[in-house]
Symmetry: C2
Subunit: 457 residues, 2 copies
């Protein structure tokens, strides 16, 4: 097929869509370290996890061995409503850059949640429904994950309670309305609906909330109400498993035209998108069948891979969740308020952390003004208004394509375009008005939060 | 192919995409009445139109005979960035309604402008570029058209000046930012940048503007600045021509699976979407090759087809534009401020008006609370958050499907889903909070504005 002109958008047919998720851990020699109980410092068992998470999801979380896990028929049917997502050949961007590089992006923004988050939300809602639960709880910051979960719960007729960081609840009323359209109840956090919320409100009246606090409230509600469980949109192994659908589709589309990428680029916050996009490529790399450059891109204002420490740490700022071994800036690290572009998590998926530690992937960090420059350049030639998160990957893809222009190399670049920026226009406005600046944490900032890491032998 | 299971989404390949637009007028026995000079009451000539509009577009505007007009290669390349749009089988909606009807929708929202408007914007920008112009001017209300035109001008490196109704400029800052991202200059109207703007501001200080005023400003700037022309996103014949790509793709996708629709439903404001969607089907009907029910859906608060008069009227409230023979509520008619859902134009495409007058299509009007109920029901099962405009068509598609449920008829329904509602969440919020009401103009309201129609023999 390689002489054929590659179309602008490669779509798989429904028959070509993946029928199983791929579990990257199955091919890893060094498995990611297990989640640990914060009190006993022992690896958490399925029994300890099932009061919080759905049973089937706990199994997936702990399964290091099964390479392919079948995607249930009901989830595959839902996927067909918005998948396959297109793998787009960025002809217009290539021409604008005058690069000999061939650029492809996997676009996950063509669904109402506006991002890849729906891939895991629908799976988690399905398993909750199958277990006979009444509903699920979660937290959301900017609202991408909360929106995706609302859509998924609406489809399976599950109750959905979203604790939304109060400042976002007030500043992003549109995200809230989308969730309400899908029937979710959205509570600004901290709230009077939980013990932990009341406690925080009495200690810090007037607080605008934090993700850590919203997690605590969502977990409390899930564990105290029979028939409810807590669900999470990133970081966990189960999430990377579900998101492997991105990479599997990407690889199938490339294979269809005999294209072998030289490098795969993705933005990284908690790792859900990157872990999914690279999965089958990393699998080949782990099995010694092929080699690829794999590049994680993170914000310079929250540089967990590039400036963090590989250690056990809390997943939440409230320090009530399990410990995970990951690249972390410390659970008390908070990116500068001036940071606009998501990817604010202090840590990173344990699986990706292990792969990075083992030298199987690279990481780089970029500053937000250069990210928005890339976003605008991309929007003008490729049409799509990208999410700030996704634009981290665009920045590095453009930089790599410009290197090819210098060297004359015809490299094939694939990057993940995780979503759209329709709800991020306040940040675009700041950028247009010249009010956006770069703030990079000092070594002292990072040392201070890393010093608070839990002591684990 | 008819025994094969129809996929959720039918995509055409790039080779199957239309290579020519279809000009519905070529098959009409009764041609739409020509645009008329407001002073002389004579049909406008090409010479009179070219100072305002691009030359090639004037030709298309006046061409009643050519059936197929080739889509230039450059426009087809741009179309490939976001087209073909999917024709979606609404399996989930059918199941929810428990209807034997088969429902399909052509989804035009998967591009950053969020609607079908881009199909004509790119064509108009292309012809402006080809003519060697520096730029174009236009007006925009809610901002869909302005966004589409900004994207198109950015692609062809044309200057784009958008006059945005002041109240929308202030209430919809996100739309404005998308336009700025694409490099357009967006001016709140009325403004001090034009003579007509200054006049209006001195007569009505504190006015929040109107579409009619924004049109006047855009036309003034286009005619006073060498190298500029004015462009419009609906109503005109040229726009319906470009939008025929919607219907041509729809028909090609249906034909691929041997599907013959019983009815085609579209929302109607100025007629750009409806005229495009129905084009090839109406063509068959006009040539006596097939029959279809064709249904225009308009808001009860702005019912030009169902309660208007078929007569010559101004296209703008400022009464500076040509006269068009159309179904109109009178150019001084203004829908209730409580009307949330777009489709606010007082008149209707002259082509669609003639077809309706000749009994070749039906029209119906719906109230906005029932439109938002349909929108929410659709969003919950089909995933997509629809624009309020598009939801007018959803309402009637659901109603027709429910009739099939009563009668047991397996009718095939096709409707146009013109866009997404990401920028309409203030209206959704009103609906959720129970603050949305229905306001229908009285017979006296309509009679009062119809009484002001220009006297034409």
């Amino acid at each position: 097929m390689s002489n054929e002109k590659i179309p602008y958008k490669i779509y798989l047919s429904e028959e070509e869509m993946p029928k199983a998720w791929y579990n990257m851990r199955s091919d890893m020699k060094n498995k990611p370290a297990p989640l640990m109980h914060p009190g006993t410092h022992k690896a958490l068992t399925a029994e300890e996890l099932t009061p919080i998470f759905c049973e089937e999801l706990v199994k997936q979380e702990l399964d290091e061995d099964t390479a392919f896990i079948e995607i249930p028929e009901e989830i595959r049917e839902f996927y067909k409503m918005y998948r396959p997502s297109p793998l787009v050949r960025a002809y217009c961007l290539e021409e604008k850059l005058k690069t000999p590089a061939k650029i492809y992006y996997k676009f996950e923004g063509n669904n109402t949640s506006g991002s890849h988050k729906l891939n895991s939300a629908i799976a988690q809602a399905y398993y909750a429904k199958k277990q006979g639960l009444k509903g699920v709880t979660t937290e959301t910051g900017a609202g991408q994950w909360g929106t995706a979960l609302s859509m998924a719960c609406s489809y399976f007729d599950l109750d959905c309670k979203v604790y939304m960081v109060k400042v976002s609840y007030e500043q992003k009323p549109f995200r809230r309305e989308v969730m309400r359209t899908y029937g979710a109840s959205v509570v600004p956090s901290p709230s009077e609906t939980t013990e932990v919320g009341k406690k925080i409100l009495s200690e810090h009246p007037g607080t605008t909330g934090s993700l850590g606090c919203a997690i605590s409230e969502a977990v409390e509600v899930a564990t105290k109400n029979p028939g409810y469980r807590y669900v999470l949109g990133s970081v966990l192994n189960q999430v990377l498993l579900h998101q492997s659908v991105i990479g599997l589709e990407t690889k199938a589309a490339l294979d269809k035209y005999g294209i072998k990428p030289d490098m795969i680029i993705g933005c990284a916050g908690g790792g859900s998108n990157l872990g999914g996009l690279i999965a089958p490529f990393m699998g080949e790399k782990l099995r010694g069948e092929a080699d690829y450059r794999i590049i994680a891109v993170e914000p310079a204002s929250c540089p967990s891979f590039t400036r963090g420490t590989f250690a056990y740490d809390f997943c939440d700022t409230g320090m009530i969740c399990p410990l995970a071994k990951m690249y972390t800036l410390g659970s008390s690290f908070i990116p500068s308020a001036n940071h606009a572009g998501g990817l604010r998590f202090h840590g990173m998926s344990t699986t990706l952390s292990q792969l990075y530690h083992d030298g199987l992937m690279e990481a780089t960090s970029v500053e937000q003004t250069s990210v928005f420059e890339a976003a605008e350049q991309f929007a003008r030639v490729e049409g799509i208004l990208p999410a700030p998160e996704s634009s981290h990957a665009i920045r590095v893809a453009i930089d790599e394509a410009l290197k090819c222009k210098e060297t004359g190399e015809e490299k094939t670049i694939v990057f993940g375009l995780t979503g759209t920026g329709y709800f991020d226009l306040v940040a675009y406005e700041k950028f247009h008005d010249g009010e956006m600046t770069d703030v990079i944490p000092t070594d002292e900032d990072i040392a201070a939060s890393v010093a608070k890491l839990p002591k684990v032998e």
